[in-house]
Amino acid sequence: MNIVVLIKQVPNTTEVKLDPKTGNLIREGLESIINPDDRHALETAMGLRETLGGRVTVLSMGPPQAIDALSEALGMGADRAVLLSDRAFAGADTWATSFTLGKAIEKIADFDLILCGRQAIDGDTAQIGPQVAEFLDLPQVTYVSRVEEAADDRITVRRRLEDGYERIACRLPALLTVIGEINRPRYPDVGRLIAACREKAPIQIWNAADIGVQTREVGLSGSLTHVIKTFAPKFQRQGERLEGDTETVVRELIARLKKSDGATACKAFDSACSL
């Protein structure tokens, strides 16, 4: 079974800290990582290759430094990698990105299954998987929490719902988006990682011409949604720092809660509480 895995390099936005002088978030120096959901997708591909054989190609659209994410993916065991990189791709919304990825997958051609993570921790839209699937006219299953059975022409999976799950049979070729609960991704193998950084590593870099797209179809020019304004979120509050030993701070906190409107929500202050 030949598999294409879509991955994205993202800043590790979960490790942000406050600058003690300005009180603002420090956005520089954030580590770049493979998007967490995408590692689970890679691991799923490795598992399927172990049972069914075939080739795993990993594909990413990003700036030149995204090659590090692809090297890591090769380190985890992918057979080859393709980086889609071109100034023309910059500023793309999911419409333009799914078009670009779709054209690249058409060029890769030989695949039975496409795997993606459910969503990226920087964009958080969860739109790429379904939009690529529609572009390529493939059936899709999202929120996949387990692969039950896989064969050359069909796959049976579990799809997580809010209150349980569904078991779904899907004809191949198809696209699946996976969630974290599906597996524990392996660490990259050191030997493979080193090989991935060498000149002969199986990494290709494609630009707009390589996938036969025009600049107006991709990037900001090819997008259907545009940012027209950004502003600081209004959710900064005038916080009060409570000082003292544990008993004191808790007493102060409860006193403030009792005085506030929120007190009625709290069962402990119910009924006869004098407010």
Binding site: L25, R27, R118, L161, R167, K234, T246, V250, D270
Partner: protein, 402 residues
């Protein structure tokens, strides 16, 4: 696509610096300069009052969309039960339609679900487009996307809203791609721009601490998803509306997925999106034993326990109690964040709580930026102390009654 500054036109006013979500602009010798970090998102292009910021993107003509009107809401149902988010969206749709001078419609797909139409009308739908067929009984992406796409092409709505539920986040992007529409996910606010009469979609964005307002000028319908619990229902009992039956021409053999089985997992606890008090734990709680302390506090307060992505991944809380951008959005009266650093993804899920209390040993934790009351301390001491003192309050109250 490249963005650059026309130095002669720049007066160093710094407006562009302020709106850049990536810190990709700086001032050098009194003029703005674009750094390598720039992602060409275009947020700065609109804000420069001297037209000093240029890009090589082609000028695009805005098409004439005067034949697209009305605000539609996808009415999500499973097994004949309506997802409340659809009613919340109808509430918002009425506001948007009022600003536009247009109407509201709900789109209901399924089999044997006609009874739901009345509820939709009672919450604001002027029309319910009803498409029923055995192939639509259970949600399947391609079946629903095809029927919706045909409806959209026939009736040309101006705006389409869907709940950002598991179904919504599966269907919306597929449908958007199919009909060639721009889609914005997880909007926290929606409004109509009075000049352009287009939908302004606001959401937290770019993994940084900014909110972005997004517009869709070049396609229709303008599509957006919104999380459950963000908008408010607006019941309108006695509101009149009509049901329009749409024909469906799907063949089972054309749909390449089949639902073999649906397994409901027993929910021991209340849905956290409806809880009035939430006690949440993050990495600092350290393990399931720590969460016992949080549960005791939640019990005394009559609330629910929730947590961050780490807590869910480690199995300290069930996945459906995760709050945040990859979890749920909650709007309780009281939110107590214990051992939570306050990463932007978590804050996005709880920032609209009425009162936020944060307990963390790290004085630099970002959570303190959004807390009404902050305690720099160890939750393993603070939380049990809260439980103790609150139990005394509760006992005092009952003994006063007695």
């Amino acid at each position: 696509m490249t963005i650059w500054i026309e130095i002669d036109l720049c007066d160093g006013c710094r407006r562009c610096l302020r709106v850049c979500p990536y810190d990709a602009l700086e001032i050098q010798d009194g003029k703005a300069r674009v750094l390598d970090r720039c992602t060409s998102c275009g947020a700065c292009l609109e804000v420069c009052r001297n037209d000093a910021i240029s890009s090589d993107a082609e000028e695009r003509e805005i098409p004439d969309f005067s034949d697209h009107r009305d605000v539609w809401v996808f009415a999500e149902q499973r097994d004949g039960r309506l997802n409340p988010v659809s009613l919340e969206l109808l509430g918002k749709a009425r506001e948007l339609a009022a600003d536009l001078g247009e109407k509201v419609a709900a789109v209901l797909l399924g089999h044997g679900v006609a009874g739901i139409a009345e509820t939709l009308i009672d919450h604001g739908a002027d029309t319910v487009y009803l498409a029923e067929d055995p192939t639509l009984e259970r949600f399947r992406t391609t079946a629903y996307a095809r029927v919706m796409a045909d409806l959209i092409r026939d009736r040309k709505p101006g705006i389409l809203l869907l709940g950002a539920s598991h179904i919504g986040r599966d269907l919306a992007p597929r449908l958007a791609r199919r009909v060639g529409a721009g889609l914005t996910a997880d909007c926290t606010d929606l409004s109509i721009d009075p000049d352009e009469r287009i939908l302004l979609q606001t959401r937290p964005a770019f993994g940084g601490n900014v909110m972005a307002t997004i517009a869709n000028r070049y396609s229709r319908p303008q599509m957006a998803t919104v999380r459950p619990g963000v908008m408010e229902m607006n019941p309108m009992p006695g509101h009149g509306g009509e049901v329009v039956r749409e024909s469906v021409s799907l063949r089972e053999e054309d749909i390449r997925t089949r639902v073999l089985e649906v397994v409901r997992e027993k929910k021991e606890r209340q849905d956290i999106t409806r809880a009035k008090v939430i006690v949440a734990g993050g990495r600092g709680v350290g393990g399931s034993e720590g969460f016992t302390l949080l549960r005791e506090l939640a019990e005394v307060m009559g609330g629910e326990v929730a947590g961050t992505r780490i807590a869910a991944e480690e199995g300290w809380i069930p996945a459906e109690n995760q709050v945040g951008q990859t979890g749920k959005t909650v709007r309780p009266e009281i939110y107590i964040a214990c051992g939570i650093s306050g990463a932007i993804q978590h804050r996005a899920g709880m920032m609209n709580a009425r009162y936020i209390i944060a307990v963390n040993t790290d004085p630099r934790a970002p959570i303190f930026q959004v807390a009404d009351w902050s305690i720099v301390g160890d939750l393993h001491e603070v939380v049990p102390e809260m439980t103790r003192q609150l139990r005394r309050e509760a006992d005092k109250t009952t003994s006063e009654e007695g």
